[in-house]
């Protein structure tokens, strides 16, 4: 029994009790029952074992829709091997940093020279799992290391235990009200936290997930919703803007069948929330607030909060507590602004590099870096961000990383801030102010030269000149003073 992993225990239980229930439907419409899913996980674990992997080792893996990714991801959990899920399309420098730090023994789904790299079709599912006697495994052991954008540009590894990732999924299912009858179409990539989180929610309930992997081709997404009678899906606000631009209100034809929509990762305009309520009058439209270190801490349902659509909601479950702290670590009364801090069953215990824990917690409460307050009814509201990260359609961008890249081209100095996306899709996009006379290069040339240095979404959407870069007396750039001028 995989007792150390409550998620695997749930999958094993579904395999025994409802073996013919469909767990997964692949992009090419291959159906995988719960019995087959658990068998594949065990076989993939045997394959990992045959490569000498054991408790505490790490593997790195990437995917958008591949079923084998799911088998290997859970196979690692079965052996208490740690998963480092990466986006293979990430900046090569960032990927190299992650791999150098975590030193995986094997990599799946992408090429690397750091360790043996395998394609998913190289997995031999014919091996037998040996007993892992003598290795004690516990729910508090690290299951995943997830990398999140740090303020300096270098990603920070967040260690999440088997208990953390199960608890998060359990909290979410409890709030949304998911059951084993759900069929969810996943347009989010599996290698991103939101997509992987939705997968875990589905599998612990014994429900069905249809893997589409992208919203880019909406026709494909809608066809899957239709064909498999989807009851729910997850999206970021930028996806909603994309759906509206490319298909109008066509999606409302699914209003009768959709029981839930989960939204998160970035702010959503109030008008979009109202429109969703009109288009889906009987659907639970649930928006989460959270971060990698404290996944889905708060939730709010749109219809239940029509008179306060700007709230981020209340703690997701009774097992999660959110408080507002002052800078000295004292809890503030309702109505007063301070830092939003979260305690609960899904909150990480530590970053991968222990030195990054400094100032990360007030006691058991994780410090989000976001500023907010609580009203007398217990609803939380965001009032700003202490951290200066730019949220591009749900992907976080460190302004310092962009500034470093611009200055590496020979620009004297610059400052990067978030601005409203002029296309109205991504929420925020990066804008760079370059100090006057700090370069002879035209903005177009700078933009072109940044292409090999930064991922697409980090490349500034706009440039401007600035006489002087605003700085504190200690020389720290004051980016928030230039935000959305």
């Amino acid at each position: 029994m995989p007792e150390h992993s409550p998620i695997l225990s749930a999958i094993q239980r579904h395999a025994a009790e409802t073996p013919h229930a469909v767990a997964l439907i692949s992009a090419v419409k291959e159906r995988v029952t719960y019995a087959a899913l658990y068998e594949k996980i065990v076989q993939a674990a045997a394959f990992l074992q045959s490569h000498g992997l054991r408790k505490g080792d790490r593997i790195a893996l990437s995917a958008r829709t591949e079923l084998d990714f799911i088998y290997v991801y859970f196979a690692a959990h079965l052996l208490d091997v740690v998963d480092v899920v990466v986006d293979a399309n990430a900046n090569p420098k960032k990927l190299a940093y992650i791999l150098d730090l975590t030193k995986p023994r094997l990599a799946f789904g992408f090429e690397t020279e750091v360790c043996v790299s395998l394609k998913y079709d190289q997995i031999d599912y014919g091996k037998r799992l040996e007993s892992a006697d003598g290795q004690s495994m516990a729910a508090d052991d690290t299951a995943d290391i997830v990398f999140t954008t740090g303020t300096t540009g270098l990603p920070k590894g967040v260690m999440l235990s088997h208990f953390n990732i199960f608890s998060s999924a359990d909290n979410i299912n409890g709030f949304i009200g998911n059951t084993e009858h759900e069929v969810e179409v996943l347009g989010l990539p599996l290698c991103h936290s939101f997509g992987l989180g939705r997968l875990r929610c589905t599998l612990i309930k014994g429900a069905t997930m249809v893997l589409v992997g992208s919203f880019a081709n909406l026709k494909l997404f809608f066809n899957a919703m239709d064909e498999f009678h989807a009851t729910g899906f997850g999206m970021v606000p930028a996806v909603w803007a994309y759906i509206r631009k490319f298909s109008g209100t066509r999606i409302s034809k699914f209003a009768g069948q959709l029981k839930y929509i989960e939204i998160g990762s970035a702010a959503m305009p109030i008008d979009s929330k109202k429109e969703l309520c009109e288009l889906f009058p009987n659907t639970r439209i649930c928006m989460h607030y959270g971060l990698t270190e404290a996944s889905r801490s708060a939730f709010m349902e749109f219809h239940e909060n029509m008179d306060r659509l700007n709230t981020i909601g209340k703690p997701v479950s009774a097992k999660v507590d959110i408080r507002i702290f002052d800078e000295n670590g004292r809890i503030l009364p309702d109505g007063e602004q301070g830092e939003i801090c979260v305690k609960g069953n899904m909150v990480t215990k530590s970053y991968y590099r222990p030195e990054e824990n400094a100032n990360a917690f007030f006691g058991d409460y994780f410090r989000t870096g976001d500023v907010g307050y609580r009203d007398t009814d217990g609803n939380f509201y965001l009032a700003g961000r202490r951290k200066e990260l730019i949220n591009v359609g749900g992907k976080k961008v460190s302004p310092q990383e962009v500034e470093d890249a611009v200055c590496s081209l020979g620009v004297e100095d610059c400052i990067c801030v978030g601005m409203e996306d002029p296309n109205g899709i991504l929420g925020e996009v990066p804008k760079v102010y370059i100090v006057k006379n700090g370069t002879d290069m035209p903005f177009d040339e700078i933009r072109r030269k940044l292409a090999p240095l930064l991922e697409d979404y980090k490349i500034p959407a706009a440039f401007d000149w600035i006489d002087e870069i605003p700085k504190t007396s200690s020389g720290k750039k004051q980016r928030l003073s230039l935000r959305n001028p």
């Binding site: 399309n89 992208s214 880019a216 081709n217 026709k219 631009k245 490319f246 296309n423 899709i425 697409d456």
Partner: protein, 80 residues
């Protein structure tokens, strides 16, 4: 009438890839650059540079290079 080569060049520029990659049968998700953000860039660039406006119902159907070329020919014929 806008030529197929012009359309392919605009698509390649919008995706920031070599024009050789823009084959007739290339579709959304066919290359990593043609994701949802790339798709948006393509439509914005085509509307901007060719001074056309895609109807929403047609946008939904535009999932390949071939489809885009046919759609633009149709729009230009209607506007002629």
């Amino acid at each position: 009438m806008t030529t197929e080569d012009t359309i392919k060049k605009i698509i390649a520029e919008a995706l920031e890839v070599d024009v050789e990659k823009i084959t007739d049968d290339l579709a959304i998700n066919g290359i990593p650059e043609w994701n949802s953000i790339g798709n948006l860039a393509i439509i914005n660039a085509l509307e901007d540079k060719l001074d056309i406006s895609f109807p929403i119902d047609d946008l939904f159907e535009l999932t390949s290079v071939e489809g885009i070329v046919e759609e633009i020919a149709k729009l230009e014929k209607e506007n002629a």
